[in-house]
Symmetry: C2
Subunit: 349 residues, 2 copies
């Protein structure tokens, strides 16, 4: 009978990064079907025989890891689970069309609690014109795991992968970065205070922006639409789920290039800066942007010829450019020093 | 802050059946997109604008609920997770083409353990010519939840729903029923013995068939192919995941009809019968077939005109017929008495 814990030669999950783990596990899974355009290794899989391709992506949120029921309203959680999944469709320059939702849940949750969850799922579906078409609900021994599969579509010629960036392309990012992680920091701080004194009433009003960014992020479908209206197809794209540094490194690795981004160009909201200044370890706002994650903004590269079309796009910031093959991925500070970007490991967030 | 456990007017999850719960939660989710052919409520969702439609289905297996690590080899588990998901594609008379796999896993599992899991996933993919194209791996606080989304395709005119059965159609089932549940009963019995005496070595050789049926079921893609070769499109179809009674009731409800199946026609393997006779509560083999579940055989109805084509199909049994609207769903015993079929509730299996 089984003895999972006592294997000899055991490699712990956290010894590998998440992406190295996926690579190791899916090594040898070669696509066999002619209509598999892209398998493992981008924001979505791409399949289909016609001109309009099908995009598929799956994302899970686990209680105690990705969300904490102490401060996560279930309606927000449902909304976020959908938003995160369809953000991957946006990251391929596609349009989300359908989702399936899988819920594994313990009997600690009531029917009414699940109704709240589904109210959030519904709100996000309606907002982004996506149909919920199936899924499953089952028991779990403890906690909740919420998995959303998103299906979308895109014209073959408009799909953007991570591997299309080329030297001199401009690096763009939507919205601002680091705010979602700042929201998480505030919630964690208030949780500690509350646990020490349950009569404590947290005053969260002045953190509304960063809290919403963490609890209820929006997928940037709007950016995909505006790019399409302007006739711009990015050369590469990814969504910022793990922090700017990690996403830039993905693009550089897949596109076989380096990059240079300028610290003062990285968009950071005022509330993010304020939260960092309040933290006892005197955190740098740019660290939240580089490593925080959870922003679900779009990071993309464009050919220089598209500069005029993109430079005044609302909510889009040009933060640097792609450099040649073999060059490192770096951030240039206002003092003109150069910091090499490093990916974080498999975090239990 | 949250207090999940202390809600007033709380409805427990087990007060509703699984299907009633899904209905309640997805009530009000109306399809908005013209290419959504079928949303929630069948084995798969059906989407797409062309003649060849896309089928989508999602299934989760949770540790401690759907599988027990005491007696589940990880390779078998990976195989089963894929088999169960693509069985839903078969149940729509479709061909599975792609899967995505989501794994939420605690640090109790090693990289090597996950490699075993993925070896099983790969084996099933290769056997059924399915491409793994993505998914995600994340931490969970305890145990493992394994979610597989299966994508498939089918010609519009060949898709079989649950709602197409009509009066006088013949009811067919593939393989045999109740064997998977018998396998589970054997494993649970041996587990209890082992826990009482860890030096005990279970002798499982003579249960090989029922154990394999439970631990490593096969989706009946072969039946879909033979039906196609014979030019038979079933009028309705479903896979037997929850037991024959529950599946027959689904078809009757969706097709607005009754049914009559004959006890002596229900295919039951010799090992299933033997396991039942060994159990202390003197279980009836037909109870395992009706209520056991986990067989992943195909239950389908055909027009009488197709009788000649189906009657000699290997591994297909004609077990009864559909009756008129308003008639009950019943099983007729060899003694010619009539037993009304009832569905089981939301089980924690």
């Amino acid at each position: 009978m089984s003895g999972l814990e006592y294997q000899e030669g055991r490699t712990e999950l956290n010894e590998l990064g998440e992406f190295a783990l996926i690579e190791r596990l899916t090594d040898g899974f070669e696509p066999r079907r002619p209509n598999t355009i892209k398998g493992v290794g981008d924001d979505c899989a791409v399949t289909g025989a016609g001109k309009v391709k099908t995009l598929i992506s799956m994302n899970s949120l686990a209680e105690g890891v990705d969300f904490d029921m102490m401060y996560t309203p279930l309606k927000h959680l449902g909304y976020k689970a959908v938003a995160v999944a369809i953000s991957n469709i946006a990251a391929m320059n596609g349009t989300p069309t359908h989702i399936e939702v899988g819920v594994s849940v313990s009997n600690r949750y009531s029917v009414e609690a699940l109704e709240e969850l589904y109210a959030g799922i519904r709100l996000c579906c309606e907002r982004y014109d996506v149909d919920l078409v199936g899924g499953n609900i089952g028991s779990s021994r403890s906690g909740m795991v919420l998995t959303v599969t998103a299906i979308g579509e895109a014209d073959e010629g408009k799909i953007t992968y991570r591997n299309g960036a080329k030297c001199h392309d401009l690096i763009c990012v939507s919205g601002d970065l680091g705010s979602a992680y700042s929201g998480l920091l505030v919630l964690e701080r208030e949780k500690v205070t509350y646990q020490a004194n349950p009569n404590f009433q947290p005053d969260l009003d002045s953190y509304d922006y960063v809290l919403e960014r963490f609890l209820k992020p929006e997928p940037r479908i709007d950016i995909v639409k505006v790019l399409d209206e302007k006739g711009v197809v990015p050369t590469s794209m990814i969504d910022v789920s793990d922090g700017l540094a990690s996403e830039l490194l993905h693009i550089c690795k897949e596109s076989e290039c380096g990059c240079e981004v300028y610290e003062e160009r990285i968009p950071i909201d005022y509330q993010t800066t304020r939260v960092c200044s309040e933290m006892s370890n005197n955190m740098l706002p740019v660290s939240n942007a580089l490593n925080g994650g959870g922003d679900y903004e779009l990071l993309f590269t464009i050919d220089q010829k598209d500069y005029e079309k993109v430079k005044d796009m609302e909510g889009v910031h040009i933060i640097g450019h792609i450099t040649e093959k073999g060059a490192p991925a770096v951030m240039v500070t206002p003092q003109n020093s150069t910091i090499t970007l490093v990916a974080q490991g498999f975090r239990e967030r």
